[in-house]
């Protein structure tokens, strides 16, 4: 059991008013400080490799086909059930590719689990943050809206590998 001792207040504190004045002086001082507001549409946030934006699908080097093999691991890992995948046989050497790959952006919580779950490095968190449209349906992104050339995601991919490498090294030494 935790016994919380009530703090013995001093007379000034019990009088209340001096404390009020102190509080007021604090807020008054703050008024004249430099403001931290960013004027958003004009001033945008600087994104870095760490920025975890919306998930995107990586295109292979041919800039046509997805790296995804529709294994469904990201679908399973998604805590918000935002990902829906229907796979199909393909002529390509990887045998399977997604017929349908949809992420419901209204559900997505940008957690990045899909990124971690993906065994084929086919899905990555981009630096795209803005999300707006006129209908709910339009915000369920299909493959066309999700696919990005590798170059667009290169910064994140490098960062991701770097992290993984560091992790691998550490685990091998120990």
């Amino acid at each position: 059991m935790v016994i919380v001792k009530r703090k013995q207040l001093s007379l000034a504190e019990r009088l209340y008013l001096p404390e009020v004045v102190r509080a007021l002086s604090i807020t008054l001082r703050v008024i004249f400080k430099k403001k931290v507001t960013r004027q958003y549409p004009e001033e945008r946030m600087v994104t870095t490799a760490v920025t975890r934006g919306q998930p995107r699908l990586v295109l292979l080097d041919d800039n046509k086909s997805l790296a995804c093999v529709s294994c469904g691991l990201c679908e399973a890992a998604c805590p918000a059930y935002a990902i829906t995948i229907d796979g199909e046989e393909t002529e390509r050497f990887i045998e399977r590719e997604p017929k349908r790959f949809e992420i419901d952006m209204l559900r997505c919580i940008l957690c990045g689990f899909c990124e971690e779950a993906c065994p084929k490095d086919a899905i990555f968190m981009s630096d795209e943050l803005e999300l707006a449209d006129f209908s709910r349906q339009a915000l369920i992104y299909d493959i066309d809206k999700l696919k990005r050339p590798r170059a667009a995601l290169q910064k994140r991919i490098d960062y991701f590998y770097g992290i993984n490498d560091r992790w691998r090294k550490r685990s091998s030494t120990s």
Partner: protein, 334 residues
């Protein structure tokens, strides 16, 4: 005919000014809150956001009117007017400045001069609570009802301290006429009642916070507990009226504080100041208290309801009584 015209003109001027001021207050509230939170506040509509109130007004006008199911439609519509009306009426006797000449007619810058004006202000502004109570009751919502209930208890409790604090000032100057009270403080800074009645000033100030339902005594709205309190169910112009009522009440109370304790439109050490200087002085003094309302709101946490009642009945009332008693004793002995 001219006196009537002058009267109309004064009324228009003062009400227009006060409404503008109230509108400005909505902006000021947002600005000050922003500054205190290291922000800038509204700055899109007009230069530095000065036209924001106008935009808000337009938005209020065009919003849809909602009346909750099971609410009493008559009272629901009546309540905002009852909230705004008394506050506007109370403005009538506030002396904004001394003598001016309008349309060639010498007059004073207040809608009416009335020998019992101090009493009038207290009496009329106290009625604002009906809007809150009825709004709370007629909404057919628990939150609103609780808000109204709290407001009624709170207002009655603090009105006592308010009147008693006012009374000690009245005892000092021997009149219930606000102009006489102002005159009694003419001369210099040291003539202000602020120095002669510091306790009354403090009590009056605190009571005005409670009377206007402002932080830290805003139990009628009290967002974390009651969503929006009495105006939870209100929208569009009715909501706007509540807001105008609240801000006008703040203006009234601030100008009362300025009048009673800081000499109102009297300019220190310049007895014969022209009317616009007096008006400016008055606005300055009032403005300080208006700012104080905002300042306090964004600084202090809210009380608990029992603390509020305890403060009102166990601290402020006895202190105010004591103050009146001592004042009377001192006045009658010296």
């Amino acid at each position: 005919m001219t006196p009537v015209l002058v009267m109309l003109l004064k009324t228009l001027l003062i009400f227009g000014g006060v409404i503008t001021l109230a509108a400005g207050m909505t902006l000021a509230e947002r600005k000050v809150s922003a500054w205190i939170q290291w922000r800038i506040g509204p700055n899109r509509v007009g230069p530095w956001g000065t036209l924001q109130p106008l935009a808000d007004g337009v938005k209020f006008v065009f919003k849809e009117e909602l009346i909750p199911d099971g609410a009493n439609p008559l009272l629901f519509r009546l309540a905002p007017m009852l909230a705004a009306g008394p506050a506007m009426m109370a403005i009538a006797v506030i002396p904004f400045a001394g003598e001016i000449t309008l349309l060639g007619q010498p007059t004073t810058l207040s809608i009416a001069d009335f020998p019992l004006s101090a009493l009038y202000v207290v009496a009329v502004s106290g009625l604002g609570v009906y809007g809150v109570i009825l709004g709370g009751w007629s909404s057919n919502s628990k939150y609103s009802l609780l808000g109204g209930l709290r407001a009624s208890a709170q207002m009655v409790s603090y009105e006592l301290a308010l009147i008693l604090a006012l009374l000690s000032v009245v005892v000092m100057s021997g009149s219930l006429d606000l102009r006489k009270i102002v005159e009694a403080q003419a001369g210099g800074l040291l003539q202000w009642n602020l120095w002669r009645q510091p306790l009354a000033f403090l009590l009056f100030l605190l009571a005005t916070f409670a009377e206007t339902n402002r932080h830290p005594f805003d139990f009628a709205e009290c967002e974390p507990e009651l969503v929006g309190g009495f105006h939870t169910e209100y929208s569009s112009m009715k909501f706007a009226l509540f807001f105008i009522g609240e801000y006008v009440a703040m203006i009234v109370m601030a100008s009362m504080t300025a009048t009673l304790f800081l000499g109102g439109p009297e300019v220190p050490y310049w007895p014969a100041a022209p009317w616009f200087v007096q008006l400016a002085t008055f606005l300055l003094k009032t403005g300080f208290f208006l700012f104080l309302f905002l300042w306090v709101r964004w600084t202090l946490p809210r009380f608990r309801f029992d603390q509020l009642m305890g403060l009102g009945w166990k601290v402020m009332l006895p202190l105010a009584l004591l103050n009146v008693f001592v004042t009377g004793l001192v006045i009658s002995l010296f």
